[in-house]
């Protein structure tokens, strides 16, 4: 087992708007304080899929390849509240290499936090690293 260098990402309201447009997820809880309050949220929250995408980015950086991930799963544990200011929210992605599984894939377990609390649970990626001899591209 070895620890991977923690990656940190800052998410502002502008990032949420950009992700909404790029992904097609225009749910107003990701941009409207009014709607977020109406459904009982503490504020506008980041798309869970944006948080997951940032975690995936960290894995790609660690692996050194954009196509390293063959399997990637998470449970959304807590919402990431993004205040309407210049600072936004900071998401940290830590990783631990758990070893090589059947098929030559490397398993990486992720700890994804915001404000010291886990926002993703059971976050795990399987990656194919250069030098692995498994079949497939």
């Amino acid at each position: 087992m070895s620890e991977l260098p923690t990656q940190t990402y800052r998410v502002t309201r502008a990032d949420l708007v950009r992700y909404a447009g790029a992904s097609g997820d225009f749910n107003p809880i990701h941009w409207s304080d009014r709607v977020a309050a109406e459904v009982g949220l503490p504020g506008v929250i980041a798309h869970g899929m944006l948080t997951m995408a940032l975690a995936g980015r960290a894995v790609s950086v660690w692996a050194g390849r954009v196509d390293a991930i063959t399997e990637f799963g998470v449970r959304f544990a807590r919402p990431v509240v993004v205040p309407d200011d210049a600072v936004g929210a900071e998401i940290s992605v830590a990783g631990m290499v758990k070893g090589i599984v059947d098929g030559g894939l490397t398993r990486i377990d992720l700890t994804v936090t915001c404000c010291g609390e886990r926002v993703l649970a059971q976050a795990r990626a399987f990656v194919r690293l250069p030098g692995d001899t498994g079949a497939g591209a």
């Binding site: 990402y9 992700y19 790029a22 097609g24 995936g56 954009v66 990637f72 998470v74 959304f76």
Partner: protein
């Protein structure tokens, strides 16, 4: 109103094939801050052995999300989207998606369960090229919070 259980096990007919555009790949990569040249630069992607710019690993959500929108909006299904929370998400990749791919997405309602006043909806989306090459499978679990 509970979700209609008769949807379980049903595979929904594929929507129009999704055309993976080069600018969409770049836009999605930029939106998540992924700066690797293989997402943005054709020459860099080709030098890394890809046919075109490479989509990030969570990009299939764009395709499955668009394909699932019809199910979510179907009044017969009975989903109140204002009460939906994203529970879990998982991707299995056969190969990276690249610009130029034409993807057919088939959605299946795998399971609907009820616990503690909440409902849990599991879906599976199988993504393949129009030529029939499997590309990725997307698994999602949504939580529909109970009223009151």
């Amino acid at each position: 109103m509970p979700l209609d259980q008769s949807f379980v096990g049903r595979s929904l007919p594929p929507a129009t094939p999704y055309q993976v555009g080069r600018e969409k790949v770049r836009e999605f990569a930029a939106a998540i801050g992924a700066v690797d040249a293989a997402h943005h630069d054709l020459d860099a992607a080709r030098a890394a052995g890809h046919r075109d710019v490479v989509a990030p690993p969570t990009f299939p959500i764009v395709i499955s999300g668009a394909a699932l929108a019809g199910l979510y909006a179907d009044p017969a299904f009975g989903l109140d989207f204002s009460r939906v929370v994203h529970g879990e998400q998982r991707f299995e990749h056969r190969r990276p998606i690249v610009a130029g791919d034409e993807i057919v997405c088939v959605n299946t309602v795998e399971e609907i369960t009820s616990r503690g006043g909440n409902e849990f909806l599991s879906t599976r989306s199988d993504l393949a090229t129009t030529a029939g090459e499997p590309v990725a499978t997307v698994f999602a679990k949504l939580v529909v919070r109970g009223e009151g």
